[in-house]
Subunit: 530 residues, 2 copies
């Protein structure tokens, strides 16, 4: 063989993209299947759109993408039109509905899972290709649809094994938020940009707390490293109004005592975090009704009231669905109720501190998104779950189903001229539905074959050398027992009599013997003491 | 509401991309799951790569992409490097293996399904985004791995319900093909381009037949419309050699009598098509051994011989796996055995003629693909199934599993003030695992609610107006029976006593009554005469 003198190509992957392992793929598939079952029970059916859309059809609704053309992957097609890879699953759904408007039966209740792309700076746990799973009701004008979404998110968490109390669906209404801003003089088309800035500041409450938001709305914020973020420069009274509003859901909160950690003994108050108590939905609604807001906001408050009534009627308490005026959602296109599902259990952050896991999905009402195409309003509401992020959460909870798939039985190759015989063995095993393979590497080094079986966790190896062939026999090596025996020498643990690690059977008994041994191993897995 | 005076955006989708329906998605998911089960039984595990790769890592191996940068979607990343969307699943796998070379246990046996992208002219059934499902053994030097792939393709077809006889896996070897070309003076690096041209001409045998290939290799071909394709201008003897070789698998074939439709009564001859008889693998191999080829080709013939022995040992006859020297496979990177799975049943083409359905997948050995990165040869073999194309085929065979998911039970809304009560009903139904929903459109027109239920094929509608609420009852409307009764008036068909199309039950009996009615409907579906 001639040596390749050419410059070698470096095998590398663009940043923000990753390869997925078998365990990851199996767990994701299982999770998506479970979520799909919940959505189907609610009456939703799958519908999917392709990866590409015309750029103008997608629109620019990404959070934090103030610069034009930022955030999406785009290219010019042959016909000189700009195409982009979808950045979420909602904008393409709006295009789909508008395009098929006359064929679609409204309300149109659909779900989908798929990859979306963001041309942003990747970071830990932050990728440029990631998976979302969405559900949407299009042509659904009433808040009963928003209420349904909230209940479906709660049911989804429980279907995945997240215990009640470890998650909460938080609900707000953009109309109320807009009403608060109108009341402080930020109403009207001319203040749209500033309203967006205020919302983005509020949205950082998870990271910076109420005081951080206060700084962002006012003079600006300086982080630990000394880096400064410019503030919006609102006056004290306006800031007070906003903070009072967004903290209406926190027990005992007022503009002055937002960080006071009062412990209130009251059935109506729901304890979620060690240092903070949340009002019951009833108390929050009472507090909201006392807020200084415009008429527009009254409408939003009425809608939140209805959502409360509906979820209560269906048996969902404040411990599952909670009115929380600090919920904003980053996307610009929401027009009414917004909601998100937060996982409330603690994990360690990179500094070793205990922090709440946080949001794994959310959505809201987007009555104007289809209208961009049709000219007439098409009311719609829906949410998106961040599949990878939710999977990380389930891993933390020990609830990730990694679907125990056994490694294959390995038929080893002792003699290249007898390959047909080994092939026949593996065929017989597969015909009996036993996961199995003939060794496919260079068979001449037998040690490599056993090393391969070992690294892949194969349960059994089949061996037939010249001696066995002559006597019409075959060796069955119990690799699990072999490992146990070698470990016992160190551990001195015995929980049952040991089996022979290798047995010899007649060639025609191969399949039966393997089936029997696999059954014994399965029994051991069930009975094994931890 | 102010009327939108702005120019409306046109909802449209880039050509060559499509939205997918619920039936399509469910059928695909089912199919992929079935295929995955076969691959897993053979010992393969899932591994996936992202949509994007660096353009240089992907390489340019697309068929018919003589023009540089044609065929793929590419863009420049922030760091000025070119990225492309993957055009198949093999090139990214080679990158993955090279990048993880030290972590991966060889032989590395994996499978994956996913979207791939071709920036080509779309046509009927030809999309710019489509799904492939691949399996590969990397670090597997022997032809036993190629033989395994062929058997796995055959098993996959049967697992999907394609009857034996309606498919065949056809196998060839690039080494033999190269040897034939060497023998007619087309060996060596300097003739690489021309060899590729010859292969592409041979690859058109399905569309143009042997005589068409003869024209393409010689003076050129004129189609029915008068459009001309330039020929390669080979001399008569060279053309004869090539045609003789590629038709070695056809019974009674010779350079002169290729289209003779001789009927040979012989156990060794396998009848596949009405007008053509194929040799048994043994006869084909005998014919190949008599061909005028170089030493290099001898190697390839020996490999084909071994494949024959192995698949025969495992019980796969010529009716499942057939040596066929006319198989080429379009991709440039194959270095040894190539194979494809063809569906042999007839469908009507656009002209109404009966034609064989054709290839739904294929692959081959690509020992050089990982070497581009590692500098050392890493032997590998694998194949790809065209998921959408295979689905079309299964639809034709009536074997497409569209997984009968029942539409939801519809709880209608008669009074907006009683929404909480309706919500409670739907919650009770869902808690009993009954697929159901409360009507989410504008409830005020009751006719729309029943029209919705009808169009969506809802099995049951629940109705509670003021009267029923007062008496503590609820109406259960059997929409299936309702349809049957209205159809009977026209058809006058009765196969059982009719049920009442609507019953009234006590509110607390709602769930039980719905369960009972769903069970009756299920029984009807089973018993209904066709």
């Amino acid at each position: 063989m001639t040596k390749n003198k050419k410059q070698k190509l470096k095998a590398r992957i663009p940043r923000g993209f990753i390869d997925r392992s078998a365990a990851d793929i199996r767990a994701t598939d299982k999770m998506i299947s479970e979520i799909g079952k919940v959505y189907q029970k609610y009456g939703f059916d799958p519908v999917e759109t392709p990866m590409f859309e015309f750029t103008d059809c997608l629109g620019k609704f990404l959070p934090d993408s103030d610069r034009p053309n930022e955030g999406v992957f785009s290219l010019i097609d042959d016909d000189e039109q700009w195409m982009s890879l979808r950045y979420d699953l909602t904008a393409p759904l709006a295009r789909h509905v508008a395009e098929q408007f006359n064929e679609i039966q409204m309300p149109y209740r659909t779900y989908r899972s798929g990859w979306v792309f963001r041309n942003e700076k990747p970071g830990p746990g932050r990728f440029r290709q990631f998976m979302q799973m969405d559900a949407d009701s299009v042509g659904a004008p009433g808040v009963q649809s928003d209420a349904e979404m909230c209940m479906m998110m709660a049911d989804t968490m429980e279907a995945l094994g997240v215990p009640r109390g470890d998650y909460v669906v938080r609900v707000n209404n953009r109309k109320v938020l807009d009403g608060v801003m109108e009341a402080i003089g930020l109403g009207g088309e001319e203040n749209a940009a500033q309203r967006l800035d205020v919302m983005r500041s509020i949205d950082k409450i998870d990271r910076f707390g109420i005081e951080g938001v206060r700084d962002l709305l006012g003079a600006g914020r300086e982080d630990e490293s000394g880096a400064k973020t410019k503030g919006l420069g609102l006056d004290e009274k306006s800031i007070g109004n906003i903070l009072s509003y967004i903290s209406s859901g926190i027990s005992g909160a007022s503009v002055d005592s937002i960080q006071a950690e009062s412990k209130v003994e009251d059935d109506n108050i729901y304890e979620l975090e060690d240092t903070q108590y949340f009002n019951s939905n009833k108390l929050t609604m009472n507090s909201l009704r006392r807020s200084e807001v415009s008429d527009y906001a009254e409408d939003g408050i009425r809608e939140l009231d209805q959502i409360c009534d509906l979820v209560t009627a269906a048996g969902y308490g404040t411990n599952r669905i909670r009115i929380d005026p600090s919920v904003v959602r980053g996307l610009e296109y929401y027009t009414g109720p917004v909601y998100e599902v937060e996982l409330t259990f603690k994990i360690k952050n990179e500094k070793g501190q205990d922090v709440v896991f946080g949001s794994v999905g959310g959505g809201g009402r987007y009555d104007g998104l289809v209208k961009r195409f049709t000219g007439q309003p098409v009311p719609a509401t829906g949410f998106s779950i961040g599949v990878s992020r939710l999977m990380t959460a389930l891993k933390n909870l020990g609830k990730l189903d990694s679907t125990d798939i056994l490694a294959p039985v390995l038929v080893t190759v002792m003699d290249g001229n007898e390959m047909g015989n080994y092939q026949k063995m593996v065929q017989e095993l597969r015909n009996a539905n036993i996961r199995s393979e003939m060794y496919q590497g260079n068979w001449k080094k037998f040690g490599n074959q056993l090393k391969y079986a070992n690294r892949r966790n194969c349960p059994i190896a089949i061996i037939q050398g010249e001696d066995e062939r002559t006597t019409g026999e075959v060796q069955i090596k119990d690799l699990i027992e072999g490992k146990r025996l070698s470990e016992e020498i160190e551990d001195n643990v015995t929980w049952r009599e040991s089996r022979p690690a290798q047995i010899s059977v007649r060639r025609d008994e191969l399949v039966d013997a393997v089936l029997k041994l696999l059954a014994q191993q399965a029994e051991d897995r069930e009975n094994k003491p931890e």
